[in-house]
């Protein structure tokens, strides 16, 4: 059974005010007595702790820049915690940004293998899922065309079909509900629900509160990197909306 334990997680970004320090600045600052501070620290996530058990469907809400995506990326190991610990038990799927790692010069089929490898699929797995991905994306005719000639919809369909072709234990979603025409949207939504149903744990970030209420059984509210509330969707979303109106 999968589980996630987050203890006192903090993630710090260093914001450089002018530019990346050059050699000149570096050596100049070595000789200066008083170091000129050209950056400031920004805590995107500050001292957050919670535990997620199998069966949990967690929605994360908060205003823009509250640290929601940073938290998800930390779960997927993109960002190393500056402080605290994350323990993940189970196979986690990096579904943060579909289509990351697609190469425009490569054909659709080549991109299935390239992007699939990046997503952590083995060659054998890719051989098995390749026909299904192509059929689902409805790209039979164009699969051997470089993706730079694809329309946005075709590109999205391929990326979505590939990213959702395997069933991870832990599903991490950042505001993705695929584009495409109405027929594809309906199909994609069904596939997404199926994926969510089969996952042990689902964590999603979304600004669509109705969607969160319909998919999640637990909601976490992040505000300026801190955990403000953690509870039932109705309760937390209600308080979040109320708080927003007051403030």
């Amino acid at each position: 059974m999968s589980s996630i334990l987050i203890e006192n997680l903090s993630i710090k970004f260093r914001i450089y005010h002018d530019r990346s320090p050059s050699f000149k600045d570096y050596f100049a600052s070595l000789f200066k007595r008083q170091r000129h501070v050209a950056y400031s620290d920004f805590w995107a996530v500050k001292d957050v702790s919670f535990e997620i058990k199998a069966g949990d469907r967690v929605g994360i809400i908060g205003h823009n820049g509250a640290g929601k995506s940073t938290l998800l990326k930390a779960l997927c190991r993109v960002y190393e915690p500056s402080d605290g610990r994350i323990s993940v038990d189970g196979r986690i799927a990096p579904l943060l940004e579909i289509g990351a790692g697609f190469h425009p010069e490569f054909t659709g089929r080549e991109n299935i293998y390239l992007n699939g490898a990046i997503l952590g699929y083995t060659k054998q797995q890719l051989n098995v899922i390749e026909p299904e991905v192509i059929t689902f994306a409805e790209l039979e005719e164009f699969i051997d065309t470089p993706v730079k000639y694809y329309s946005t919809g075709m590109y999205m369909r391929l990326a979505f079909s590939l990213a959702t072709a395997m069933h991870p234990d832990i599903l991490v979603l950042d505001e993705i509900f695929a584009g495409g025409d109405a027929a594809f949207m309906a199909k994609a939504r069904a596939r997404m629900h199926n994926l969510i149903d089969k996952a042990d744990i689902m964590i999603m970030v979304s600004h669509d509160h109705e969607l969160i209420k319909s998919l999640c059984n637990r909601v976490i509210w992040l505000d300026h990197g801190k955990l403000t509330a953690d509870g039932s969707p109705e309760d937390v979303v209600g308080r979040y909306l109320a708080g927003k109106h007051n403030g």
Partner: protein, 262 residues
């Protein structure tokens, strides 16, 4: 430390699929939609080296045949080393989009460059082999040493590449500095001239140049039909090991900071 090393290697093994995809991406992409395709990888350095052979053989009043083999045997390891170090310098910066979105062991970016260049280099070596036979040069059993020379050179180039790839993330100026430094190093390495030909005030610089034994590893079997001396082999292995140790040390220490600095 032991478990760290094991998880590092285990992770690398797990991502062998991505690594091979990145390598083939590099090999395929450059010449996609060109009529001669991958052949350009062979033709390009060979033509370049032929021009150099012609010019410098005339300039040095050397025999064209001997000088061609002499020059090619030096250029092949040099081209591999210099391309690996320069291209790795930009490897994290060019893959910023990927690194910020999906976790991948970061060593695969410089490593895939080194592997792709190794394949290129091995193939241009085969082309050189054909040329040597064609112009009637003599080949000896010493040629069998070349694969070993490649292994030693590979780890040396990889070690230096790890240093430049990490350092460039922190100091972007390095991308340009490396290019100039490699130009300078080219002339301080006995590629166009014989090992002891550069006399006078700059001779000591050649003596300090760590690339020198690697050129010798290739040149002795190809151009002199003999095995490199044991001292040269040991020197090269020493430089290669030191480069790997320093490179891995810097890389592992900074690896987790890279994403925050892209």
């Amino acid at each position: 430390m032991k478990t760290n090393a094991r998880s590092f290697l285990g992770e690398l093994y797990d991502s062998r699929n991505v690594l091979s995809q990145l390598v083939s991406q590099q090999l395929i992409l450059r010449y996609r939609r060109t009529a001669l395709g991958y052949f350009w990888t062979l033709i390009n350095p060979l033509l370049m080296m032929s021009v150099m052979a012609l010019v410098f053989a005339t300039l040095f009043k050397a025999d064209l045949k001997t000088f061609t083999v002499f020059l090619f045997a030096g250029m092949i390891p040099w081209n591999f080393f210099s391309s690996a170090v320069t291209q790795s310098g930009a490897s994290f910066i060019n893959n910023e989009g990927l690194i910020k979105k999906i976790y991948l062991p970061k060593i695969i970016f410089p490593l895939s460059i080194a592997f792709a260049l190794l394949i290129d280099s091995a193939l241009s070596f085969l082309a050189l082999f054909v040329i040597i036979l064609f112009i009637g040069g003599s080949l000896s059993w010493a040629v069998l040493f070349i694969p070993i020379a490649y292994v030693i050179l590979f780890f040396f180039a990889l070690g230096i590449s790890l240093i430049t790839s990490v350092a460039t993330v922190f100091f972007r100026d390095l991308q340009h500095i490396i290019l100039i430094a490699m130009q300078g190093l080219f002339f301080l390495t006995p590629i166009l001239y014989k090992n002891d030909a550069l006399a006078g005030k700059v001779a000591w610089l050649v003596g300090l140049n760590p690339v020198v034994p690697f050129i010798e590893l290739f040149r002795a079997p190809l151009s002199q039909a003999s095995l490199p001396s044991i001292i040269v082999i040991l020197q090269a292995i020493g430089f290669s090991l030191s480069a790997m140790v320093i490179g891995l040390f810097i890389f592992l220490q900074q690896e987790k900071k890279i994403v925050f600095r892209l």
